[in-house]
Symmetry: C2
Subunit: 490 residues, 2 copies
């Protein structure tokens, strides 16, 4: 497509950019990005010449999951989904892209991070930015007023800078929400119970859950004299209190958000000096339910908690791990704008969002929680790496093997018998594999048993069953083999 | 953004388009599309005036999955994933978008169906079109030469016309592949065994699996005098033989693909008159393994099978259901270009694809199968609709209820006790729900048990456990409740 001379010129220029960055010792990320551009240009040229020089990488800010990561991911999902199901939740799924206008006006300043699809004719589309807006769209579109659902899926944000700060551009969200008009604070309390159960079962060490209510914040802002149109933006500044000193938060309010200094100081008094000045009827009610659910040991009322998102209208909460795990350079994954380091779950009540989609503005009150699953994955991955126990990526119970030549057909036959009986079996795809390489495959992948066939065993109607770890071997009559394998791999 | 008068003009024009189509009795799909455009225009205008008129729909060619569809999807996935695991497979995941150039040159004529992302700065990206090309990219990038993996994820195709012909633009693929240099036909036979097992376990009625080998086709084409550069395009025409008469296939070869008439006639002789003229050594070997795997009752050698995709280099196969299920208008989902109606799985050997990504062109031989999961979903959905058995969307074992007022706290306390014991429990979020509405909730959602609390039960230290279906009630000591629920909901 591009003229060849032009391309060669562009490659030369880009090569200089890369060399300059390297000589300036620029960040690895910056250099990688420019190198990728260079390779893309070379690939175009290569294509013209019939040579294929591919850029072998995933898109910026994304990653593949290898089998080990998938095994950990599956374990985490199983714990979380079991909890959601224990609480009677259904699940739904929505498309990865929505009409662009469905997302418009829902994310405030963060809208610039939305991925748009190219206009190839037809509707204008964007990749979903979270699971909450598609959920609200789904409720309004299907006129659903009551549902308890979870949704685990990937969302997309053109966040920058990406990997070094641990933000992926493609990452999982894991949401549980209760929609419906109910008596106050009962579903809200269940959301907190769920966070408590999940963090306990994932065994991530001690944690606490901060709780606040947007109405308290709004009331406080009003009392302090914050203009109404600034409530949300001041909220997201207050939300930074766990990462920034009060003085810096104040500076941002005054210099960036245009709040007068005395109003900022009044907010500071509430947040810093009198954090528990009020006791609020709703908070009292919520805590009485949390008492019944036996979770108050981990829940603290925190007037400084604000949460970044615009759409919260009531109770808000955030769960924080106590242990400080040194985050690896590429995996410090927070899963939501404004979530602080250490935060692994967050959510709250949003009674207005569904009404934004309803033609008549009918409201469906909602409360929900989002589990910060990417952060949990990376903690689990680190734990797995430091642990002596190997992560298995398959569930194979037995390898069908042979020490002798020319037994491929007998091996395949036995393998098929075991598959048909529901046993998880592997067999090497070689005519005459060595016994040693068959045993090595078991050691490497953690297969606990080997079923060994030989001329003698075939004649005797038995199979030699070997325990890989103990090397102990025993002849098992072929008719008993399935039961014996089941017994040994419970 | 757009000028208001211009917008109003556009709305007027678009309104006329819609009225004209309706008066002409155009297809529902065509009308819907134009109505959507009209609503989008109105939404823009509404936005300007401060009124929000949202277009409440999912993007064209996509759909939400409701809880019932998700329950069916989960059941299907469980059967398929169990089979993959029984065969010792690992799983991986890749990002939903790839660098545009990763997809370039892999899909022949179908490349126009690739979704591109908008250029918002940075890399040029496209949504994945299948799972095979990302798999090949993953292998080359990580220098993996041996793996047995499955991958279940959504892929994206700007196919047109969409829903009425049952093609979704977002749909699942469910792939199992074996990469590595092995002795001939052993992994290929395992892929066929897997198709056989899955279709058996899904209980979709009788089926058969057609098998052919691209090398046979290529040899046949060469003998017939097809020019080398036309092998692939003629292949995809031959693949239409199950949907089109030979005369039409011939016409396409001659008129569209530029084959001479006598060459086309020679192909016709092979395909129609001498379908089993050759016996091929590889086919013999494959069938000997299939014999050992006990699947030959369903496998037939079919010289007319060609499969649409470019990259196959050896054995190819396709599984077809025998029963003709009347496909509903919107759900006749085939999941791959060129797959015929009734086809529910397909695949083959592709030894060249990974090498296209390797800088040095190193080959990694691969063979795999793709389960046509969307078609299977819709068959299962239809079966569920005609069946008398209700599809449950939750797994809740028991509802904690009360017939009396003011027992909310006792209900919550018992609910929490049961959650902590691992029981799946629901409780209505009402202070004083009526017993009838609590029982109705059980009937509607299929919850089999109700644990009823009253003043008397609390005093006696028991819970009244009610079987929803039989209405039988029995007092259970509180200490025995967990065991009793487990026993009754095995």
């Amino acid at each position: 497509m591009a003229d060849k001379a032009q391309l060669q010129e562009a490659i030369k220029t880009q090569g200089e950019v890369v060399r300059k960055l390297k000589s300036e010792k620029a960040s690895k990320e910056q250099i990688d990005e420019e190198v990728a551009k260079l390779l893309q240009l070379k690939a175009q040229l290569g294509g013209d010449e019939g040579k294929h020089v591919f850029v072998l990488k995933t898109a910026k800010g994304t990653r593949d999951y290898n089998p080990k990561q998938m095994a950990i991911r599956e374990k985490v999902f199983n714990i979380i989904i079991s909890c959601f199901k224990r609480h009677g939740a259904e699940t739904i799924d929505t498309p990865v892209f929505e009409l662009k206008e469905t997302l418009t006006g829902k994310y405030g300043e963060d809208s610039k991070l939305i991925y748009d699809l190219k206009d190839q004719g037809g509707e204008l589309l964007s990749l979903r930015y979270d699971l909450t807006v598609p959920f609200a769209r789904y409720l309004a579109m299907n006129k659903i007023t009551n549902i308890k659902r979870y949704h685990i899926a990937k969302v997309y944000r053109r966040d920058n800078p990406a990997m070094t700060r641990g933000r992926y551009r493609e990452f999982y969200q894991c949401d549980f929400d209760i929609a419906g008009q109910y008596d106050a604070m009962i579903p809200d309390a269940e959301c907190l119970k769920i966070v408590y159960e999940i963090l306990n079962e994932l065994d991530l060490g001690d944690f606490h859950i901060k709780v606040n209510d947007r109405r308290i914040l709004d009331g406080m802002f009003a009392v302090c004299g914050v203009p109404g149109e600034k409530f949300r933006t001041i909220c997201s500044t207050v939300d930074k209190l766990d990462k920034m000193a009060w003085e810096d938060v104040k500076k941002e309010m005054v210099n960036e958000k245009g709040l007068s200094e005395d109003v900022a100081d009044r907010i500071g008094e509430y947040v810093n000096v009198f954090p528990l000045v009020f006791s609020y009827i709703y908070m009292k009610l919520l805590f009485s339910y949390l008492e019944l659910f036996q979770v108050t040991d981990k829940v603290v009322f925190d007037l400084s908690l604000a949460r970044g998102l615009d759409y919260y209208t009531g109770v808000i909460y955030e769960a924080i791990l106590s242990q400080t795990i040194p985050a690896p350079a590429e995996q410090n994954g927070a899963d939501e704008a404004g979530v602080s380091v250490g935060s692994v779950a967050g959510g709250g009540r949003y009674d207005g969002l569904v009404g934004m989609f309803d033609p008549k503005g009918r409201k469906v009150p909602c409360v929900g929680v989002s589990i910060g699953i990417e952060r949990i994955f990376s903690i689990m991955e680190q734990k797995a790496e430091t642990s002596s126990e190997k992560v298995r990526t398959t569930e194979t119970q037995v390898l069908v093997a042979s020490a002798q030549k020319n037994l491929l057909e007998e091996r395949l036959k036995l393998t098929s018998e075991l598959w048909n009986a529901g046993i998880k079996v592997e067999v090497l795809y070689k005519k005459n594999p060595k016994l040693l390489s068959q045993l090595q495959h078991c050691e490497e992948t953690g297969i606990p048993l080997v079923a060994i066939l030989g001329e003698q065993e075939l004649k005797d109607g038995v199979v030699k069953l070997r325990n890989v770890a103990s090397r102990e071997e025993v002849d098992v009559p072929r008719a008993d083999l399935v039961d014996e394998i089941k017994k040994r791999t419970l």
